[in-house]
C-alpha cells in the first residue's frame, strides 16, 4: 500500500458520512440518531456527518423492520451508495423483525439476506453511544478494507450468494 492509498484509507475512517434509511421502523431508532448529532454525544468529533442522499454517504444506517415494500427500496438505495460502503443495522428489528415478526407484510428474516450488513447495533432502540460505537466500528472496517462489500469486490467473482427472502417468485 503506497502513501496515497494509506492517506485515503485513513480519511475513510476520519470522515465517514452517513445516510439514514428507515425501512419500516417505529421511529425509535431514528429518534436516537438525533441526540447522536447533538453536542451531548457529538458524532462530529469522529468526523461523522449526516447526509440526506445515499450518493454522498459511506455508511448507511438501516433501522426498522423489513417489509415487503421496503425491500426493493433498500436494494435501490444500497446500489446508489458509492463504493466502498458499509451498512450498520440499528436495533433488533433488522436482525429478526422483533415483535413484528410474523406479520403478513413483514419479512421475518435478517437484513443480512437482503444487503450485506457489517455492524449490528443491539438495542430497542439502541442508545446513541451504542450507535456511535457501531459507526466508529464500521468506519474502522472501511479503513481496513474489511467491509463485506469491499471483501466481495476484492474477491472479484465472489458476489454474495443472494438469498431469495421475500422476493416475489
Amino acid at each position: 500500500m503506497n502513501l496515497i492509498e494509506r492517506v485515503i484509507a485513513i480519511s475513510r475512517r476520519r470522515s465517514p458520512w452517513i445516510c439514514r434509511l428507515n425501512a419500516g421502523s417505529c421511529n425509535g431508532c431514528d429518534i436516537e440518531i438525533t441526540p447522536l448529532l447533538s453536542p451531548r454525544y457529538d458524532a462530529e468529533q469522529l468526523g461523522i456527518e449526516l447526509h440526506g442522499t445515499p450518493k454522498h454517504a459511506d455508511i448507511v444506517l438501516i433501522s426498522g423492520t423489513l417489509t415487503l415494500r421496503s425491500r426493493q427500496a433498500i436494494l435501490d438505495i444500497y446500489d446508489q451508495v458509492p463504493n466502498p460502503k458499509a451498512v450498520v443495522a440499528l436495533g433488533s428489528c433488522p436482525s429478526s423483525g422483533n415483535v413484528f415478526a410474523g406479520s403478513p407484510l413483514v419479512l421475518s428474516c435478517s437484513l443480512d439476506t437482503v444487503v450485506p450488513v457489517d455492524v449490528w447495533v443491539p438495542g430497542c432502540p439502541p442508545r446513541p453511544q451504542a450507535i456511535l460505537d457501531g459507526i466508529a466500528r464500521a468506519a474502522k472496517l472501511l479503513e481496513d478494507g474489511a467491509t463485506k462489500s469491499q471483501l466481495a469486490k476484492s474477491r472479484l467473482a465472489g458476489s454474495q450468494p443472494e438469498s431469495r427472502c421475500g422476493r416475489p417468485s
Binding site: V119, G123, A130
Partner: protein, 180 residues
C-alpha cells in the same frame, strides 16, 4: 473573570470532547443486555411465555439438561422476563450492549445450560430447586433428605406426612412408590 477561566480551559482542552467510551452515564434503571443465572433457574418457562418477540426459548436434552436460549437481536428490552421470573434468575444489566460484526454469534445469542439431577428417591431426572428456595422450604427441622427429591416425590412426601398425621399408627408403608 470566570468567563475568562472557562475560555482558557476550553482552549487548553483537546478538540475531542467525548470519545465513545466516555459518554453520558447510563441511568441505573436502564434495561440492557440480559444475564441468566442457571443456578437459580427452574426452567418453568415463564420468561419464554411472557416474551412478546419470542427472544427466549428452551431446548431439552432429555434426561441430561435443559438449555435457556436468548437472541438479543429479537429482544425489545421490555424487562417482562425479569419482572415475571419467580426465582430472579434473569437480570437486565444496566450497561449498553456493544455492537457486533455478525448477527450469528459474537454475544448476540446466549445459551445457558441447566443440568438435571437424578431424584435421590426415585432416580427421575429433574431440575433442582435453587439453593435459596431450598433453604427457605427446608429451613427448620424438615427432612433434609427431601432436598434431592423430584417434584413428584416431594408431593408424595408431603402427602405421606399428611397421612401419618391422620393415622399415627404408621398405616403408610414407608418406601412406597408413587405412580410414575
Amino acid at each position: 473573570m470566570a468567563m475568562l477561566k472557562t475560555i482558557l480551559g476550553n482552549l487548553l482542552r483537546p478538540s475531542r470532547t467525548r470519545a465513545p467510551a466516555d459518554m453520558p452515564v447510563v441511568p441505573p434503571t436502564y434495561r440492557g443486555a440480559l444475564t441468566h443465572d442457571a443456578g437459580r433457574c427452574t426452567a418453568c418457562g415463564t420468561c419464554a411465555f411472557v416474551c412478546a418477540p419470542k427472544a427466549i426459548h428452551f431446548t431439552q436434552d432429555p434426561g441430561i439438561s435443559v438449555s435457556w436460549h436468548f437472541f438479543i437481536g429479537q429482544c425489545s428490552f421490555c424487562g417482562l422476563c425479569e419482572q415475571n421470573c419467580p426465582t430472579r434468575a434473569i437480570h437486565l444489566r444496566a450497561d449498553v450492549p456493544g455492537s457486533t460484526n455478525s448477527a450469528g454469534g459474537d454475544g448476540l445469542r446466549l445459551e445457558s445450560v441447566i443440568h438435571l439431577q437424578p431424584c435421590t428417591r426415585c432416580g427421575a431426572a429433574h431440575v433442582p430447586l435453587p439453593a435459596a428456595t431450598m433453604d427457605a422450604l427446608w429451613a427448620a427441622g424438615a427432612d433434609e433428605a427431601e432436598r434431592g427429591y423430584c417434584p413428584d416425590c416431594r408431593r408424595w412426601a408431603a402427602s405421606a406426612r399428611l397421612r401419618t398425621a391422620f393415622t399415627p399408627d404408621g398405616a403408610v408403608a414407608e418406601g412406597g412408590r408413587h405412580d410414575r
